[in-house]
Symmetry: C3
Subunit: 205 residues, 3 copies
Amino acid sequence: MQFTLLSALDYAGVATFAASGALMAAQKRQDVVTFIFFAAITGVGGGTLRDLLIGAPVFWVQDAGYIVVCTLVAILVYLTRGRGVHEQTLLWLDAVGLCVYACVGAAKSLSLGVDPVICVVMGALTATFGGIIRDVLAGVPSILLSRELYITPAIVNATVFVACAMLGIDWTWASGIAVALGFIVRAGAIRWKWHMPAFRPPQDK
Amino acid sequence: MQFTLLSALDYAGVATFAASGALMAAQKRQDVVTFIFFAAITGVGGGTLRDLLIGAPVFWVQDAGYIVVCTLVAILVYLTRGRGVHEQTLLWLDAVGLCVYACVGAAKSLSLGVDPVICVVMGALTATFGGIIRDVLAGVPSILLSRELYITPAIVNATVFVACAMLGIDWTWASGIAVALGFIVRAGAIRWKWHMPAFRPPQDK
Amino acid sequence: MQFTLLSALDYAGVATFAASGALMAAQKRQDVVTFIFFAAITGVGGGTLRDLLIGAPVFWVQDAGYIVVCTLVAILVYLTRGRGVHEQTLLWLDAVGLCVYACVGAAKSLSLGVDPVICVVMGALTATFGGIIRDVLAGVPSILLSRELYITPAIVNATVFVACAMLGIDWTWASGIAVALGFIVRAGAIRWKWHMPAFRPPQDK
């Protein structure tokens, strides 16, 4: 098993995203079942799309543990009423989750013989789609349109991982390097508001 | 064939959800093609997601009858201008559809050897996702956020069915018991506004 | 290879839809990564859903060229700031893309032995779903609800193609006839505001 580190971090990634889904339900003042629903859809949504696209069996259908983790996280957030979880804490946890997940997604695709370019796409999708579905279902403006660097760190991450893996670097090291670089980009976006130039239509000039 | 009762009710479930999709198109004053589109997506949406997730061939792609039923229901609603279908009638039909569909979804998954915990998830998804997609596409607030008990009866239903089936009870009986219990929960929600406590953030206290 | 003409037009169809996705990102004043995201999701969204539903390997996962095309189109739109692309031009390009794509979708399904009725559904889905996802993610009212004839030309197109193919007409001819007829309906909708009667609730009379 080449990516033990990633496997170990996988559950942590799901749990982090599940927490962000549960906090969305909290913001909308829902009941505990809706907490679980949002936790699950945010936690496993990106990986589900990845598995469907690459034709792999959907991971959480094979291993009920992921849904159990999402359920427990949702109940915990509900019971503690989010106490002790500052918004900043969550933002940073989410940044870690984003980077880990982009690697997991790229690694799984690569191990199934998918074209490297598509592996980068899969890494980015795995990391971002759970949050996108969460926002659509909650009826809030998508993070997609927030002009924050969110997809970009995931792409950086997946690209670095795939490039390292292609160069023959051990996947544990490759994922370490990729997570570090992706995290720097995301951290820059959170801390120093790094962003890319927005499109300006011609008439603005 | 172990679940003849469910099979017989399957088309009825699709038709009921299709009617709720067509009525959404009516509310938005659309043309007949959009009626058919909404009827189809609401009628088969939940089961489609279930089949993709458990890796089964998508049911309505295998049997064109489901799309034909959705089309006929949509045309009927358009032509009769919803006359004779009181909102209350639809709400109760939808409640029956929800319970039947949760059973059908759980039973299909169980018969394909899916983990029982995941079968419950599949039952709930099958019953609720058509309506969720309908609301997203129509741009109306999702029933998810309405704080009504809607996912809960589907979960109760699927859980009871799976538990009975695990205990060796004949699937026809298991589905009868499950539909009855799920329906009571949904009926309580419609008739007596049963609901679960909403999340209150700490500062509310 | 029976549908060379369609294969040749396939990339053009993806590129056209990708351009419409990129222009949506332009309208929302996004950065270049979001341009690429919207271009890709609009360009390949409909075909992705089709492939998942008919159980075929997802086309762009098999051939990275499609994602490369979407990326290049997005960058081009970003760099030229949409200069030179009048809204009318795009509308007509989109009309061509819609018709080509409906044929491609129906032809692919038919070649895989799918039921003819379902092939029509697949043609319509392939042609329209990319745009529907684009609108949902951008948070703008869906073209579905605009009462414009948009799904209808796709259905006309796919129906004519499937009927011709069933009658034994060569697929190149069948697609030519289908694209022409579908295009006339769409052109009528754009140019002369052709539309179908909207639903009027009983109390309006």
